[in-house]
């Protein structure tokens, strides 16, 4: 082996001696629950129930316009 190979071995040995071996190679936490939480946090979609509620509000305010100040009073 050439002297270059010895130098590499020397440097490798020195580095191994200087840096302690890592023991925490495994993940510190299970990432799957976090992934599930992200999936659950999908933006809320506008369904039939929300449409019915919006229609109810519109009808109530159209039939009873005197409710508008009362609703604004609570917002």
């Amino acid at each position: 082996m050439s002297s270059g190979g010895h130098e590499f071995d020397f440097v490798r040995a020195q580095l191994r001696a200087a840096l302690p071996p890592r023991r925490d190679l495994a993940l510190e936490a299970d990432l799957w629950p976090r992934m599930l939480r992200r999936l659950e946090e999908a933006p809320a979609r506008f369904g039939w129930f929300e449409a019915v509620l919006l229609g109810l509000i519109a009808v109530m305010l159209a039939v009873f316009p005197e409710l508008i100040p009362a609703i604004l009073y609570h917002l």
């Binding site: 509620l53 409710l67 604004l72």
Partner: protein, 135 residues
């Protein structure tokens, strides 16, 4: 953004009614300039300016602090708030002698307010909670 989750919950809850208040104030000022505002109506602004935003903030804080997310949707939780706010609003209106808001009107307004709150909390407050990284 990991610290102070209750402060973040409070601020996220306060924001939406504070924006609506600006709209209400603008409508009030325009109506006032046109001379369409009944005398004494300015006293009514105390409720949406002081009570409503703070109650929204505390209600959202409660939702986060009690970890209700798994058991109750934020829209349903928000829809319960008028059950406390409407009687308080009627009581304050009676104390301030505000004639535009009576107990009879409150009974009619309650389901409408609950529906409006459901939508506001489901889309508005939930979005703000996500924006401040509340889980």
């Amino acid at each position: 953004m990991r610290g102070h989750p209750f402060l973040r919950a409070y601020m996220a809850g306060v924001l939406l009614p504070t924006w609506v208040l600006l709209l209400v104030l603008a409508v009030y000022l325009i109506a006032h300039a046109g001379g369409h505002v009944p005398a004494g109506l300015e006293r009514a602004i105390v409720f949406p300016m002081a009570v409503v935003p703070n109650t929204w903030g505390l209600w959202n804080l409660l939702y986060v602090a009690l970890r209700l997310r798994r058991r109750l949707s934020i829209g349903a939780f928000g829809a319960l708030l008028p059950l406390a706010l409407v009687p308080a609003g009627v009581a304050l209106a009676a104390a301030l002698d505000l004639r535009f808001y009576t107990a009879h009107q409150a009974v009619v307004a309650l389901p409408t307010a609950m529906a409006a709150y459901f939508l506001a909390w489901k889309y508005g407050v939930a979005f703000l909670n996500r924006a401040v990284e509340l889980r």
